[in-house]
């Protein structure tokens, strides 16, 4: 007990007011407690989730894209580590000094660096230089302290070892578009991802892409990674083995180089694509590096349209190469016998229209063999007239003309096989008899793609089977398990009498080997080739025939040559087109010869190729499990 404690006495005037303040304090306590109850108990779960999502971030681990090999296991595409220099001006960035230093260090254009850096917005940053070489990486890393805001970022970059040579077949990657993303989000794609935008890269995307993995990381408020909580490994994409033979592809590309044209080489007995070249081409590595606006403009607005795949995306009048179809149709339909001769005096009159032969004074008396060998137009004008356009169209379609071949590439043209019904539909006018002879020599309305023509001539070589062209043999997992295997698909079988084929084949042999053959320049010392030239008029010349080389480039004739080899037991079929190349025999035939010879030489030395692949792989990846085989 405290003796000195007196009973505390409150000054009376304050009593009420103190009670008021006490009440106020208790009220505040109640209010704040209620508030905390609301936040921590009633909404606690929600805030706990928000806290978690603050803390945890999902980071993607991109999958390594599958490799692509040719039929001899030669590597065509791989993904390699590539280094970009990125610039993200932080708060401590001191103006443009680091950029100047970088420009000096790498002997790069400082002005351009500054211009690029101008686009850096906030913390996202921009890529200053893409795919820099190793010495540059080392230089930047060692001078890191002098280069605030500049860092090296590494990513897998697609590398096309065959550059322009396989551009149209292999395609390229590009950033996923908003529309594509809509459908693919479920499959793990995210904006900013790269996806196949053309060719093999696009159509085999599901096999090649693999599946990206991810890791849950703890981050702090500035987004810095603190630690990895768990990780789901990325599944690498599958490797693809093509039917392509790079030796043949290379020969075709080299032979075509500098021209606008296409070469298609098919395996006669399966329709497998051995080569598919369109020139001019583009370098898919430029797409992988990222195209500048100017590069893209050049690619898309170039008059030579390098992005256009001439083997199948556009159709051309087949010219005299179509005479093969006309001949087969005529013999099968019995409108003419092989030995029946027709007179060619250099021109043919239909109604009031005079159609010329390419040879001014004509070929004289012509039978089927001579007509094909010398490519007599007047003979086929008459045969076409006897057949009628509908029967010609029927046979053309049996060989796959007039509809897409069904190859697994985008944008394939159907070509055009005209008949009466088509004319009525298209123009609302009847078919004029004068139009039939032109179709018989592959002129007029008719249009075909080089791929269709290769497929057609392959059918002639194999006895009448039209295969759907294909170029992927198999898909193999990185562990070496075969995931998919592809084989020939029969699109149609054309029933032909043995004699009919014999007549045509003998003629096609003599086109190359005969004394008066139009494709003597396709003759090879290595292998016997049979084929048919074509010189397709672009502009209709009225009056006097003019030599093609005297015409302006845009209206010069297209040069064609379709062929197969070896003649005794055909294995490959070739279609060659040189746009505005002039005469088929002069321009297209030598290209075909080079291609066939390349195939003949590449033949069976597969053991060498495999060794080369091993060396290549080791050089590229160091020691690691072999992917295919």
């Amino acid at each position: 007990m405290l003796p000195l404690r007196t009973s505390s006495r409150t000054l009376p005037e304050f009593r009420g007011r103190i009670r008021f303040f006490t009440l106020l304090v208790l009220l505040a306590l109640a209010l704040l407690t209620y508030r905390l109850w609301m936040l921590q108990i009633l909404q606690g779960h929600r805030y706990a989730v928000l806290s978690e999502s603050n803390r945890i971030r999902l980071e993607r681990i991109p999958a390594v894209r599958g490799l692509v090999f040719d039929r001899h296991q030669r590597l065509l595409i791989h993904s390699r580590p590539s280094f970009d220099l990125r610039y993200a001006p932080g708060e401590d960035a001191n103006g443009l000094t680091p950029l100047r230093r970088l420009g000096h260090l790498l002997e790069a254009d400082t002005e351009e660096l500054v211009e690029t850096a101008r686009h850096a917005n906030g913390s996202k940053g921009v890529t200053l230089l893409r795919d820099v070489n190793w010495p540059a990486v080392v230089a930047v890393e060692t001078h890191q302290l002098d280069l605030p805001g500049i860092h090296v970022s590494v990513k897998a970059r697609r590398s096309y070892l065959t550059d322009d040579m396989t551009a149209h077949l292999l395609g390229y990657l590009g950033e996923i578009s908003t529309e594509q993303l809509r459908g693919l989000r479920r499959k793990g794609y995210r904006s900013g991802d790269e996806i196949g935008q053309a060719g093999l890269e696009k159509l085999w995307e599901p096999h090649l892409s693999g599946r990206s993995g991810g890791e849950r990381v703890e981050v702090d408020a500035t987004g810095q990674k603190v630690r990895v909580i768990d990780r789901l490994k990325a599944t690498p994409g599958h490797n693809v083995v093509l039917t392509l033979d790079m030796d043949v592809q290379q020969a075709a590309y080299d032979a075509l180089k500098g021209r606008e044209g296409a070469v298609v080489v098919l395996d006669v007995d399966s329709g497998a694509v051995l080569a598919l070249v369109s020139t001019p081409a583009f370098n898919p590595n430029a797409f992988a590096r990222g195209l500048t606006a100017r590069e893209w403009r050049e690619l898309t607005q170039d008059g030579e349209t390098p992005l256009h795949n001439r083997t199948l995306q556009g159709h051309f009048p087949p010219g005299s190469t179509f005479k093969i179809v006309t001949a087969l149709a005529a013999l099968q339909e019995g409108v003419i016998s092989p030995d029946q001769r027709l007179f060619c005096g250099g021109s043919y009159k239909v109604g009031n229209r005079v159609l010329r032969d390419w040879k001014k004074h004509g070929h004289g008396q012509v039978d089927m063999h001579k007509a094909l060998v010398e490519s007599c137009d007047v003979y086929f004008y008459q045969v076409a007239q006897r057949l009628g356009v509908d029967k010609m169209a029927k046979w053309a379609r049996r060989f796959g003309l007039g509809s897409p071949t069904g190859i697994a590439l985008d944008g394939e043209s159907a070509g055009l096989v005209p008949d009466r019904a088509w004319k009525r539909r298209r123009f609302g006018t009847p078919w004029y008899p004068g139009e039939t002879p032109l179709v018989g020599i592959g002129q007029g309305f008719i249009g075909t793609t080089p791929l269709q023509m290769a497929s057609m001539v392959a059918a002639v070589a194999n006895g009448g089977t039209v295969y759907r062209p294909w170029f992927v043999q198999r898909v193999v997992s990185p562990e070496g398990v075969v995931m998919e295997e592809y084989g020939p698909v029969r699109a149609a079988t054309v029933k032909l009498k043995k004699g009919t084929l014999e007549v045509v084949r003998r003629a096609l042999f003599d086109v190359v080997h005969g004394r008066r053959g139009t494709a003597r320049r396709a003759r090879s010392d290595l292998v016997s080739i049979a084929g048919k030239t074509g010189t397709a008029q672009v502009a209709e010349m009225r009056g006097e025939a003019v030599k093609s080389k005297d015409l302006p480039y845009e209206i010069r004739d297209h040069a064609w040559f379709v062929a197969y080899a070896p003649t005794d037991k055909p294995e490959i079929a070739v279609a060659t087109l040189v746009e505005h190349g002039g005469g088929g025999g002069a321009t297209a035939a030598p290209i075909a010869r080079k291609v066939v010879e390349a195939w003949f030489l590449s033949g069976d030395d597969e053991s060498d190729d495999v060794e080369m692949t091993d060396a290549q792989l080791t050089r590229l990846f160091g020691e690691r499990p072999r992917h295919a085989n």
Partner: protein, 365 residues
């Protein structure tokens, strides 16, 4: 020196012990608040705050040793000194975060607006203690004249939070001193009428803060970031909390100002609702103990002085927690005894010393 035995016996132990306990809890929480993702926690600020606590303890002892009646005579000189300090802040103060609030004293930065709160309590207590209860508005002339320069100088820094706080403390003292109820109503109506005019004088960032307070989610990365992150920290503590040093919002630095104004969010994340109830109760107890001093004081000066200090503790505590939990706009008022900050801690200890002063002398008259 002869010490009056009554003083020793009447010493307000509960108030003293509770104050020190809360200040120690503050140091423990500051230690956690300054822990970041690195495994090692920095003891730097917690240690600094311990030194401030020792300094605060010294001033507390000074504040309860000198009889508050003798202090009465020193009120105006002290007032003058603080007004000069506030003026100096505007002239040579350190600018931080858009306002000039600190004076660089070499060893530490002094925040005179903290001292201003307590000086104002003294001035009002002194000037109002001679009035008879039921006085009218006109009698408030002199006190208002004394308040005006302090308020103005704080507003010029600009420190809206402290200005509002000073106003609220002043109001509490005025009400306690017995202003006529009718006058109080007039005054309140006039104050509310003046609000739109006052709005015009606010800095844009202050206006933004008030708007953001109305709807914090509207700008979660900008002005609303503080409150959104603070609510997430508090809410995710749930019933039992994440545990001491385990708050992810704090450790990953999502929380802004986590060792100063927003320290309650750190505490709430780590200790949960249960810990918060304990802390709230402790604070309420502290304020009720302060009000007990008011109730027991034996003269008007003592009553008003204790009432002013009680109001100061109450408003700071309520505004801070209200602000951190998103009930009030963010105005930059620290949580007394717990938030890091030398000026705030020393001032609060000093104020508590004054309370103990009044309390221990309740039987000497």
């Amino acid at each position: 020196m002869q010490i009056d035995r009554r003083l020793v016996v009447s010493f307000d132990w509960p108030l003293f012990v509770l104050s020190i306990t809360l200040a120690l809890l503050g140091i423990v929480t500051i230690y956690s608040a300054t822990c970041s993702v690195d495994e090692e926690c920095s003891r730097y600020l917690a240690t600094k705050q311990s030194y401030w606590l020792i300094i605060g303890f010294f001033w507390m002892v000074v504040a309860f040793s000198v009889d508050y009646q003798r202090l009465n005579r020193w009120v105006y000189p002290i007032y003058g000194a603080v007004v000069i300090l506030l003026g100096l802040v505007l002239l040579v103060g350190i600018t931080s975060g858009g306002s000039q609030r600190w004076l660089d004293l070499r060893f530490f930065a002094l925040q005179p607006s903290e001292l201003a709160k307590i000086v104002l309590v003294l001035v009002l207590a002194k000037s109002l203690c001679y009035y008879e209860p039921g006085y009218s508005l006109t009698a408030l002339g002199v006190p208002l004249m004394l308040c005006a320069p302090v308020l103005l100088l704080v507003l010029l820094q600009p420190d809206l939070g402290t200005a509002v706080l000073i106003f609220l403390i002043a109001m509490a003292v005025v009400v306690m001193s017995g202003l006529r109820v009718r006058s109080l109503v007039y005054f309140t109506v006039a104050a509310i009428a003046a609000l739109p005019v006052g709005w015009q004088f606010l800095k844009p960032y202050q206006q933004t803060r008030i708007w953001t307070f109305m709807n914090p989610e509207s700008d979660p990365l900008g002005a609303g970031y503080h409150v959104v992150q603070s609510k997430i920290a508090i809410g995710s503590g749930r019933l039992w909390g994440t545990g001491y040093l385990q708050g992810s919002q704090n450790r990953l630095e999502f929380l802004p100002e986590q060792h100063t104004d927003f320290i309650f969010a750190v505490f709430a994340e780590e200790w949960g609702f249960s810990g918060c109830v304990v802390l709230l109760t402790a604070y309420t107890l502290l304020i009720l103990l302060a009000l007990r001093v008011v109730r027991r004081a034996q003269d008007r000066f003592g009553v008003l002085l204790a009432a002013g200090v009680s109001a100061m503790l109450f408003w700071q505590f309520t505004i801070n927690i209200g602000m951190v939990t998103g009930l009030l706009p963010v105005v930059g008022i620290p949580l007394p005894l717990i938030s890091y900050g030398g000026s705030s801690l020393v001032t609060t200890m000093l104020a508590l010393g004054l309370l103990i002063n009044v309390s221990m002398r309740r039987n000497t008259r």
